[in-house]
């Protein structure tokens, strides 16, 4: 449950535990109180009701996307 959306950190202030994140071109300040790992600008995080709730594992995301591409290519090959 609970809407949550991938966003990219464009500013981060560890002292205030606040980050500015970008969601499809829209920026918003969020709290990073819930993230234990070090954060840095350029990281992708999931945002839920004004909080970053976790970092997104980029390798895993890319792996999925590569997998899907292969799948499509295969199915296209099938139709060819």
């Amino acid at each position: 449950m609970c809407l949550s959306i991938p966003s990219k950190i464009v500013e981060f202030n560890p002292e205030t535990s606040k980050a500015t994140v970008d969601t499809m071109g829209v920026q918003r300040e969020v709290s990073t109180h819930l993230i234990a790992e070090p954060l840095q600008v350029g990281d992708y995080v999931l945002i839920h009701v004004g909080f970053a709730m976790s970092k997104i594992d980029e390798d895993s995301a890319l792996e999925s996307l590569e997998l899907y591409r292969e799948m499509i290519e295969k199915s296209e090959a099938l139709h060819d």
């Binding site: 819930l34 909080f51 890319l62 999925s64 799948m71 499509i72």
Partner: protein, 384 residues
């Protein structure tokens, strides 16, 4: 066909990649092809209301083989909120010099006499927040009033409440109180499955609950009920990939806990969030769910040492304590167990509709009856 370039990480990739129409189409084709081999329909419960929303929005039931049937689960925090808790919120909001704050569309949900939106229209001070941290400002800006945060949501939203409690304590905000209604997914899954009657063959596990809790919380259920569960992302491709994984388990005769939503979910989850929750909150002995009734240890409350922050304690005298039973005709309990469908309910569409819901499943757009009311008949109608 040449070897394509590696995909590069970007926000767009994270969105479009998991919503890509061709990927969706191939995924559907692949599932339908595999589903051919199922000897009988597979009944998949998506526990989480967010998944219900995706499934409906992307029209997946229509596109998928009849061998895949969806059972909409209890995972919508507004739907499962019992009327007596909403009555609490209203009673608090109606107190002189009390401001009630809660999240988003919670204010539309009817209690026994009205919704918070109606209470607001009648003069109660109610704030619909997007961000729980705003209650801190609200309490600061209104030093002569007491602000009650009506905290709702599953495990996803609970850590945010814990942060707010932590801040309120640190800032010594003595006019900010909490009315805690955070509910837990595993006891609800137990409530569905425990009596052995439920007709459910597989679970799509929640996305963002799992980000917080880790996938580990589903292991007992998977083992006890020998029912596979795949923790899935919210995007249509995520849901479809998870379904594919579930069909494969079914065909292989496996009942395992798997994670499709690996880019965000681990086995352990967000341990800082878990610790924060643990510092301020603890399980209640039981909690009443709309549709499922009383479930032991299925919700959280403030720990004893924070009782002075607990609106249920501070305002005990003004809070109505009579539990309100579900309407007798309501079949939500059975629907949630996959034993009945909305059309089996006598009052569906006749007395019970989204404007005046009689049962949990009609309350929000994630409820089974509500979804069926709005979308369910489309295949029949479009077939004309």
């Amino acid at each position: 066909m040449t070897e394509s370039k590696p995909i590069e990480m970007s926000l767009d990739a994270l969105y479009s990649g998991f919503r890509d129409p061709s990927t969706i189409a191939s995924m559907i084709a692949k599932i339908n092809q595999k589903a051919e081999q199922l000897t009988q329909p597979m009944r998949v419960m998506e526990v989480c209301g967010g998944h219900t929303h995706s499934i409906m929005k992307y029209g997946l039931p229509q596109a998928l083989s009849n061998k895949i049937q969806f059972v909409h689960g209890p995972g919508c925090p507004v739907c499962v909120m019992p009327k007596e808790r909403i009555d609490h919120a209203i009673a608090l909001a109606q107190q002189e010099n009390v401001i009630l704050a809660t999240l988003g569309d919670m204010i539309r949900v009817p209690g026994s006499r009205m919704s918070l939106a109606q209470a607001r229209a009648q003069g109660a001070e109610v704030h619909a927040l997007y961000d729980p941290m705003h209650v801190i400002e609200l309490a600061r800006d209104n030093p002569h009033k007491r602000v009650v945060y009506f905290a709702i949501g599953f495990e996803t939203t609970t850590p945010m409440t814990a942060v707010v409690i932590e801040q309120a304590i640190a800032l010594k905000l003595d006019n900010l109180l909490f009315h805690v209604n955070h509910v837990l997914v595993p006891p609800a899954m137990d409530a569905v499955m425990a009596d052995g009657q439920a007709n459910i063959n597989a679970f799509i596990g929640p996305s963002h609950v799992s980000v917080v809790t880790g996938a580990k919380i589903y292991r007992p259920a998977v083992e006890q009920y020998k029912t596979p569960l795949v923790v899935a992302g919210f995007e249509p491709v995520d849901v479809l990939e998870s379904l594919l994984m579930l069909v494969e388990q079914q065909l292989d005769g496996r009942a395992e806990l798997e994670i499709q939503y690996r880019r965000a979910v681990t086995n352990e989850g967000n341990t800082r969030a878990q610790e924060l929750i643990d510092t301020y909150l603890e399980p209640r002995s039981e909690f009443r769910w709309r549709g499922l009734g009383d479930i032991p240890h299925s919700a959280l409350k403030l720990r004893a040492e924070w009782q002075h922050l607990d609106a249920e304690n501070v305002f005990a005298e003004v809070l109505p304590q009579t539990p309100i039973d579900d309407h007798k005709a309501c079949l939500c309990g059975k629907i949630l167990k996959g034993l009945a469908g909305p059309k089996d309910c006598k009052v569906f569409g006749r007395g019970c509709d989204p404007q005046r819901p009689m049962g949990s499943c009609m309350v929000s757009s994630e409820g089974a009856c509500n979804a069926y009311y709005r979308y369910g008949r489309i295949s029949e109608e479009i077939a004309q």
